[in-house]
Symmetry: C2
Subunit: 474 residues, 2 copies
C-alpha cells in the first residue's frame, strides 16, 4: 500500500524530493533532541500546486501529514511520530520572495523562506521586518506563522500573528486558499488567517504569506538598568511606555542568578552590575527612534533620570556604540546557553498579566524553595510582554539528570498551577506541539477544548494534518 503512495509522490514532486532512505535525522529529530520519530517519507514539494497534489494523494491513501519548516520548534510539533507511517511535508524548497510592495508596506513570500533572509530582504528595500528570535538563521516564516512565534520585538510590533496580513494555505482536502491579501482592512467573513496562524499545521499547510513592513528606524539605542525589585521593574516599564511611546521596542528582565551563569560560563562577556550583590534584577531597554541618534539618546537619558529619581532604577548605562549595544543584547541572549552549560534544566515559557508578575514570582519562588530546598531559579524574559522564561535548575552539586527525572513532573505541576492561579498561560510563545498536549487538556476549560475539537473536526474530518498535535480528538 505505502509503496503505491511513494510512487505517486515521486511522480508528483520528482524522485529527488521524496526521501525514504539514509539519515533522515534532520527531519525526524526535534530541535532540542528530546525525541525522534520515523517518517514513511520526507516529501519536498516545490510549489503550492505540488503541496496540494501531495495532500490529495496522502488523503486518498489515508496517510497523515506532518508539515515542517525549519524544524526548530521547541514543543515537538514538526517531527513524525514513531509509527513510520507519517509523511513529513517539508516546505523548505518553497523559498521564493514573491514580491516587495514598498508603497503598501508589505512583502509576499513563500513559507520556506528563512526568517533572517526576510529580515535582510526588507532591509535591502529600506524597511524593517521586525520578527526576531534566536533561531532566525534556520527557522522559516511558515513555521513562525504556524506557531505564532514571538521573540524580542513583540512589545512594539506584536507576535508573528500581528505581522501577517494574509496567507496562502493548502487545506486538508488539498484545496488552495488564496488569501495572500495585502489589505489592512477586510471584514468579509470569518478570520481564517488568524485561525491558521498558531494552529501548528493541524488545520492547513501555510505555503505563502503577505507580511507587514515598517520604516527602518533612524536610530536604535540600548540601555541596561539595575532595578531594586521586580515591582520596580514593572514601574520602570510603565514609565518607559509613557515617555518613549512606540519608541520602546525592547524591555527584557534578567534575574541575578541567570546573569551570574553568563558571567561564570562566558567570562569574556562583560555583565554590567554583576559585581554588586545588591542588584537582584537587571533590565535591558531598547529605544527605536525615527528622528536621530541624538534625539534617541536625549529621550533615553531623560527617562533613566526620571526613573532614578523615582527610585525604580539604582544604576544604568546607555550603550555608546552599536558594538556596545550588541554586547548587551549578547549577554541577554547568552542566558539559555549559559544555562545549558550549567546542566540540564526544566524550562517554562509562561506569561502572566504584567501587573501580577512580581507577586507570581515571589509566591512561586517561595513554593519551589520550600518544596525543593536549594533549587535554583533562572528567571528572565520579555517583561514588556508579560512573558517569563521561568526555568528551574537543580541545587548546586546535585546530579542534573537525576534531579530532572525525579522532580520534573512535580515542578511542572507546581509552576503551571501557579500560572493558572495568576490567570497566565503555560505556553506564551513556544506553542503546544506534542510536548504540551496533556497540559492543554488539563488547563483549558472544557468549553474551549470542545470548540477547538469542533473546529479541527470541521476542517480536517479525516484527522490527516499533524494528528495528535495541539488538540487530540477523543
Amino acid at each position: 500500500m505505502s509503496g503505491v503512495l511513494i510512487d505517486k509522490l515521486r511522480a508528483l514532486v520528482g524522485d529527488a524530493n521524496v526521501l525514504t532512505e539514509g539519515d533522515l535525522g534532520a527531519w525526524e529529530q526535534d530541535w532540542r533532541k528530546r525525541s525522534r520519530g520515523k517518517a514513511l517519507a520526507v516529501v519536498r514539494p516545490g510549489s503550492t500546486q505540488q503541496v496540494a497534489e501531495v495532500v490529495k494523494a496522502c488523503a486518498a491513501a489515508g496517510r497523515a501529514i506532518v508539515p515542517q519548516g525549519g524544524n526548530t520548534g521547541l514543543a515537538v510539533g514538526s517531527i513524525p511520530d514513531e509509527s513510520g507511517t507519517q509523511i513529513v511535508l517539508s516546505l523548505q524548497r518553497m523559498n521564493a520572495i514573491r514580491g516587495v510592495d514598498a508603497a503598501n508596506l508589505t512583502m509576499t513570500v513563500e513559507a520556506g523562506c528563512v526568517l533572517q533572509t526576510l529580515q535582510e530582504t526588507a532591509e535591502k528595500a529600506g524597511f524593517l521586518f521586525p520578527l526576531s528570535l534566536a533561531a532566525e538563521g534556520s527557522c522559516t516564516i511558515g513555521g513562525n506563522l504556524a506557531t505564532n512565534a514571538g521573540g524580542t520585538q513583540v512589545l512594539r510590533y506584536g507576535n508573528a500573528r500581528e505581522l501577517c496580513l494574509g496567507l496562502e494555505v493548502v487545506t486538508p482536502q488539498g484545496g488552495i486558499w488564496e488569501g495572500t491579501s495585502g489589505l489592512r482592512k477586510d471584514n468579509t467573513g470569518y478570520d481564517l488567517r488568524d485561525l491558521m496562524i498558531g494552529s501548528e499545521g493541524t488545520l492547513g499547510i501555510i505555503t505563502a504569506a503577505t507580511l507587514k513592513l515598517y520604516p527602518l528606524p533612524a536610530a536604535r539605542l540600548t540601555a541596561w538598568a539595575a532595578v531594586p525589585t521586580l515591582e520596580q521593574a514593572v514601574e520602570l516599564l510603565g514609565l518607559a511606555h509613557k515617555r518613549l511611546g512606540a519608541g520602546l521596542t525592547g524591555f527584557e528582565v534578567m534575574g541575578r542568578f541567570a546573569l551570574s551563569l553568563v558571567a561564570k560560563h562566558f567570562p569574556a562577556l562583560r555583565v554590567p552590575f554583576i559585581e554588586d550583590d545588591g542588584v537582584p534584577y537587571c533590565v535591558l531597554l531598547e529605544n527605536s527612534d525615527n528622528e536621530s541618534e541624538d534625539h534617541a539618546r536625549a529621550r533615553f537619558e531623560a527617562l533613566l533620570e526620571t526613573a532614578f529619581e523615582a527610585g525604580c532604577v539604582s544604576d544604568a548605562v546607555v550603550a555608546e556604540s552599536l558594538t556596545q549595544a550588541h554586547q548587551l543584547w549578547h549577554v541577554r541572549e547568552s542566558i539559555p546557553l549559559a544555562q545549558a552549560e550549567e546542566g540540564l534544566n526544566i524550562k517554562h515559557d509562561i506569561s502572566i498579566p504584567v501587573s501580577r508578575i512580581p507577586a507570581f514570582v515571589e509566591q512561586t519562588d517561595a513554593l519551589l524553595e520550600d518544596e525543593l530546598p536549594g533549587v535554583r531559579l533562572v528567571n528572565f524574559g520579555h517583561l514588556g510582554d508579560g512573558n517569563l522564561h521561568y526555568n528551574v535548575q537543580a541545587p548546586a552539586g546535585a546530579h542534573n539528570g537525576d534531579f530532572l527525572r525525579e522532580h520534573e513532573d512535580r515542578i511542572n505541576t507546581l509552576v503551571y498551577e501557579a500560572v493558572r492561579q495568576f490567570e497566565g498561560s503555560f505556553s506564551a510563545e513556544h506553542g503546544v506541539g506534542s510536548l504540551k498536549v496533556e497540559t492543554l487538556e488539563k488547563h483549558k476549560s472544557p468549553v474551549a477544548l470542545e470548540m477547538m475539537r469542533a473546529i479541527k473536526r470541521g476542517l480536517d474530518p479525516q484527522n490527516l494534518l499533524n494528528p495528535g498535535r495541539v488538540i487530540r480528538l477523543t
Copy 2:
C-alpha cells in the same frame, strides 16, 4: 409553543426585560433604516450567566437568536428577520467596567459598554483607548468586536481586533468560554478570540472583553494638505510613515467633489483650499507625539516642507489650536452628512492595497463615467489603511431615487469587479451582515466559503446564532 419559551425567558431575566409589545423599532430597524424585521421578543439579560441561560432556553426551543449591541451596524446584521420567530438578545444592560489594570495596560469591560464611555474611562485613568468611529456615542464594544470595527485610528492602532486581548463568549450551546485574558502572548491552541471577532454574532455571543490601553500622547496635531494627484497622496503617506513613524495616527484622503458637497451644504464650515479648482485631493494628517507639542509641530513642519520640496504637496496648513484641529476633523467627518443632504447615494466600503489605489480609482472612475455619463463620485477615506468610501451619486439634476433603483445593482457589480481585479475587499470595515451575504458568496473562493461553512456547522450545528448572516449554510 412560543408562549412557553417567552414564559421561560421571563422567569430567567425578569418580566421587564422581555419585550414583546409596543414599538420595538429601536431593536427591529437597522441604523440606516433600510429594513425592518419583526422579533418574537427582545430579551435583555443582565449577566453572562443569564445570557447563557437564555441561549440554552432558545436552543431547547429551536429558536434563532440575533445578538444585538448598539444596533448601529451598516450591514443589517443585528436586527431580526421578518418571520417574527427570532429572539433579539440585547447586550445593552451588560455595561459594567470590570476593571482597569494600569500596569498591564488593559481594561476588562462588558459587551454593552458604549464605546465613548470606554474612551472616557481610559482617559480618566490616564490612558488612551484608541478605537474611534462615527457611531461612538451609541455603538457598544460587543458590537465593535463582533464586527471588527475600524475607524480613524486604524493606521496606528489597528482595527478592533488588534485592540482586544481576550473575550468572554457564550457559545451556541449556552456554554461560557472564559477567555478575558490580559495576556499579550498565549500560544495554547487555536485562536478562538480572533475567530469570534468579526463573526458578527454567528459563532458565539461576546459578553465581555479585555482591551489594550495606550499611554495618552503628550500632543496631537492635525494638518491639511493639498495634493496634486492620488499618486502623490500615496507618496506623501510613505514619507509620513518614514518621518513620523508610529506618530502618524491619521491619514485621510478626500476628493474635491466630496469636499465641495461639505462646502455647499454646510457653508459655516471652512474647507481649506476649496476655492482652488486645481486641487483634486486633500489629505488630513494627524501626528501624535509622546514628547511635547513643540516637538510634534517641528516634526510635522519638517515633514510638510520635505513633501512640498518633493512636489507631493502643493499647499498645507497645520492647525494652530485644538479648536482648529477639531474643525479640520469636522470637515472630514461631515462628508457622509453632506452626501446625505445631496440625496440618496450608493455606498461602497472597499479596500485596495495602498500602492494600487491610484490606478483603481482612475480606471473605475473612467468606467463609471463611461457607462453612466455625468455620474458623480464621492471618494474619500482612510488612505493609510487602503480603505476608501467610494460612493456614487446620481448626475446633477437626476432623481436620486430613480437613479438608485435603476442602476444600483449594475454599479455595485462594476465596482466590486474592479475591486476584485485589484485584489481588494468589498467590505473593508462594515462587515457582511445580511446586506452583503450574496456579494460574499460571489466574490470569495469556494475553498474559503467551504472553510467558513465547516466552522459554522462545527460550532453552531443547530444554526441558531444569527442564521443567514455572514455565511449561509447550503
